[in-house]
Assembly symmetry: D2
Homo-oligomer: 363 residues x 4
Amino acid sequence: MQNGWAHTDVRRVRTLAPRPAPIGAGVVGCGYWGPNLARNLSEVSEFELRGLCDREPEPLRSLARRHPDVQVYRDFDHMLADEDIKAVVITTPPDTHYALGMKALRAGKNVLVEKPLATRLNDAREMAALARRSGLVLMPGHTFIYSPAVNTVRNLIRSGVVGDVHFVTSSRMNLGKYQRDGVVCDLAPHDLSILMYWLEQPVVEVAASGSCVFRQGVPETAFLTLTFAGGISASVQLSWLAPRKLRQMIVVGRNRMVQYDDTASDEPVRVYDRGMDHGPTSSFGEHQLVYRTGDVVIPRVEPQEPLALELQDFANSIRTGEEPRSNVGLGLDIVAAVEMAQASMMDNGVPLEFAPWVEPAVA
Amino acid sequence: MQNGWAHTDVRRVRTLAPRPAPIGAGVVGCGYWGPNLARNLSEVSEFELRGLCDREPEPLRSLARRHPDVQVYRDFDHMLADEDIKAVVITTPPDTHYALGMKALRAGKNVLVEKPLATRLNDAREMAALARRSGLVLMPGHTFIYSPAVNTVRNLIRSGVVGDVHFVTSSRMNLGKYQRDGVVCDLAPHDLSILMYWLEQPVVEVAASGSCVFRQGVPETAFLTLTFAGGISASVQLSWLAPRKLRQMIVVGRNRMVQYDDTASDEPVRVYDRGMDHGPTSSFGEHQLVYRTGDVVIPRVEPQEPLALELQDFANSIRTGEEPRSNVGLGLDIVAAVEMAQASMMDNGVPLEFAPWVEPAVA
Amino acid sequence: MQNGWAHTDVRRVRTLAPRPAPIGAGVVGCGYWGPNLARNLSEVSEFELRGLCDREPEPLRSLARRHPDVQVYRDFDHMLADEDIKAVVITTPPDTHYALGMKALRAGKNVLVEKPLATRLNDAREMAALARRSGLVLMPGHTFIYSPAVNTVRNLIRSGVVGDVHFVTSSRMNLGKYQRDGVVCDLAPHDLSILMYWLEQPVVEVAASGSCVFRQGVPETAFLTLTFAGGISASVQLSWLAPRKLRQMIVVGRNRMVQYDDTASDEPVRVYDRGMDHGPTSSFGEHQLVYRTGDVVIPRVEPQEPLALELQDFANSIRTGEEPRSNVGLGLDIVAAVEMAQASMMDNGVPLEFAPWVEPAVA
Amino acid sequence: MQNGWAHTDVRRVRTLAPRPAPIGAGVVGCGYWGPNLARNLSEVSEFELRGLCDREPEPLRSLARRHPDVQVYRDFDHMLADEDIKAVVITTPPDTHYALGMKALRAGKNVLVEKPLATRLNDAREMAALARRSGLVLMPGHTFIYSPAVNTVRNLIRSGVVGDVHFVTSSRMNLGKYQRDGVVCDLAPHDLSILMYWLEQPVVEVAASGSCVFRQGVPETAFLTLTFAGGISASVQLSWLAPRKLRQMIVVGRNRMVQYDDTASDEPVRVYDRGMDHGPTSSFGEHQLVYRTGDVVIPRVEPQEPLALELQDFANSIRTGEEPRSNVGLGLDIVAAVEMAQASMMDNGVPLEFAPWVEPAVA
């Protein structure tokens, strides 16, 4: 693993007491997800929303109506020319992340890029290297790891309540907005970010098979089998074709099972205290497992908007140089796993091992 | 596919009006599942339970107490010697099915074997061939395909309500009784029988990865990716380690999605009438899919005990020679797929293609 | 309250080690509920089922088929003449309980009567007095108080987990079998037995309003407001007209809320650890309540058949003279409350107070 | 019923094509519910938010921060003096509605008052009379009747899908913000508005019993039994003491049952197509009811913000003089029923009949 993201315990975003002036920020990409970021940027005190940019006039106009005091741009370069904009948030389609991100970094801006960081690992690495050389923050927007429910599960794992993790499953399905990069690029980063954040291990092997109904080469459904560095395996079912929104993950550990259902707003996390355990060994080996039975607990999860926490973490990183929870190392691991999944899909589902990238001595 | 099971429309088991004398039946294997079969055999009018057999004295004694008029046997051969026993039901562990099944067939008995038919495809074929030569019924006990809910889903697919099937997922987990043959041999036959019964296609490719926590070589968890003859793919998650019992299958089709949850006793089937469809093509290709929205329907499913229906189908097959719904061809296809899954697991998850077995001209 | 049922802590039915000969038992009423009792009587070791009785030939014949060794009777007197029958179970319609119960007691039999004990309080009292004078057991069949889930809730209240009970609600609805005594006589005894068992207090006031759709004078729907001796109030909604079966009770206490849903088989009890509490008093009185937030816990409830436990308690009472958990005092309190509810319904919903019955000094 | 609200079919709020200038609006009461109204007033194009008023500086300051361009007032009279404010929205505690409403009407403003219109029927009538004489709109804010789910149920009733309504139940519980007017004044208007809107009948009789735990005279829990003009009865359970938020209403009709659960965001309405019906009459009268069985349907409900629809209806009423869906007649009926419930609670639960108010000929 190329960085220490798993070892920093950033459970809560710090709030600095005497607050300095807000950081000027601009958003590029005013469609689907852009309005949420613009709203949060204008609501949190850490930022001042100064610019909105989109090539298309309609989403730009529509979003500008809600932010009448903010400057609008059709040309990204023009927005970058505003010297009071220190932070740029990129919410355009994935295959534009690299080009826009490099531009913004070259213009000396701190950058928050919607997931994934880029569609190719080498591009993402180039962005990461430029950010590091320039002393700028480059942060992927893995918003789920700021979700209170996701952090509840992480704490259950970290504290030993779950016990050694045996395996994980995930079903993430919806009627998806069709995107030209396919369902793996669209949805897998969510599962990967959550799983890496929970297990604190990178993925070392991926087998993936996808199927295309509406357009050749753009899978709307994919099944992934992941193996993590410590040997834990995970099954991930992704689809844009499912009328019922499903966002369910199950972590089965030696002591307990945890179910996380992001659509069950009131009760997103359930902990099952039943399991199988080693009992006294019999000579026949048939009865050596004993069952424990117990209660189900639904821990209280405080509602908080993950996007606001993410932006506060971005601001903190810009100001202090501390790594954000959703850091570039996590982003690179995710891009690597997505790339591997795409390659396995092309190779008919054969499992591919991750070739860990060793950063050249002189970078 | 080696037989016509998919083409026979055996939606309901026939009830013959003037009922002949009941068929004498014996059960071998009085443990876990045996008592259910013994009870059903003594309740349906088609059979007369005449014998109970188990090598171990305790389960035999325990079951005999509930059936005081039935003869008990420690030795299977002795039970086979009862000429009034025309049908033998085998509910012993999977790796004994072949030996006991062959013995029973050689003794001229009609045989119902708990799933799977055998643990190796060649053994299962040998059993099938012997039954055919001997004019005896050999029937695998794929009980799920007699379940009213499973048949409700099958009818939704057959009638076109679901539309072309895009993909299927299944999660089948519980705190399983540990069995020496592993979780794939134990649980996968359920998914395979249901999926083949729904899709009316055999599996042509399997990729499987398993993980062992408690004993090397006996996976308690396995993830399968299946490809069916028509190109449909399915993801199947199996585990014995999950404290919460999960039996959920999702069929996503062009017109509707069907969710089948066997643990939701009152409302096992839900039909979602929302989907994505081809709209008018735009030049950019981005907006060519349109969304339909609609209602969710929970069809009424009549409660009926599948095991009783299965036994009635067995009796009908013995009497008329008609193929039972759960027929030997289906059983062979399932053994083949299980064998393939085991091989893929040994090969680290590499997908394996099914080499269809061509029955020799002179069998 | 006329007896000590609330003060005896009969949490589990004792099992006597060296088991004496089983008690001969007969069942009168072979329709709806009779078969369940006959089956349980033949399964528990404490009883030997010796007689089945029904005026109508069809239910008698049907039930006799499942119990081929048991004597059948069209005439109740004939069954009572069997001296080896020491215990009679009455499962006929409520308005026959009094006449049949008196007959059985006069014949020297111990009697278990399906709820309610009788339809009129005076009749029930006469039965109770005769049983006491004769040294026989008279036990009403309030099966719910043997349910493991009901006892889980009782323990949560007794142990102080719930805290002082603020109020209770109950919704008990289904598509009911139409009975000539009306929905209150049919369903309210369930709620009353559970509530009295939980709160250990009798009902002192009842307001009830009923509505009739299909036949005048026989309400299919009724709303009851009960006040218990300690001041706790309960709202009970009863109906035979609801297509969805509802059996949900909510107990709100100072410390926690408990929800009991008898139709949620896996998770019948949920405990909510959130509440409102007295905080420091402010001068404005507006902010004197503070909120606690917490987890939801679903305690493990062991599945056990309540009817078997009830019969074992009946046998124990016959043998030892100990009061059964479902004792005659509880039965009388319930008949009293039902009678009051019927009277309030006749009086257009005006609340009626319970006039406690003082047993004459010389009885 | 004093007006025709039940007969106007205002299923959807009209959208006028060429939009006139927005109506100037002010909000008094910046606490709990005020911010929602301020936000919606600033978002819908029909209004221009011009004033915010609160006696207390803190909520005023806090809300002003979100609406920096809007004038703030500590004194209501000063806000009324702004001639460009044509509409005033009152979201202060219920016992201030009358005084503030009268003031606003006297100042010539159109008034939207949060529910209930007033705490006493006579006060509410005086407000209604003044509004009528002055040609101004007086509208109670019964927001629930603009909810898409509530309207889905209304359409199911209107269209005959449900059939003749047999009865209704409602459970509305939460951990409530303590209010000095008690739980009936706080929560019952929701149930009353929904029930009157569904059944298109006023309440003619109310029996209510309440219980107080934390402060004498301020019930936190109340059970209501309502009788509607057509004979339908309803049971309503209200509480501020329940940790689990419950908002469930059940309508049982001759043809179908409808369940409306406002907390089940995705599937708020369920329709059960099972019921009991008159069958052929038998001479014994016991078997004259037959059961229909059928499916459950969860109709698609479009998400829309009810508050925005309510404000648009308010604007339409100001401009056109048309009655709003949530009209003053409905508001008066609700105040009358609440008053009756309070009186019945004081009278220990005795049912009280509604004495319909005949407006004097010369008003």
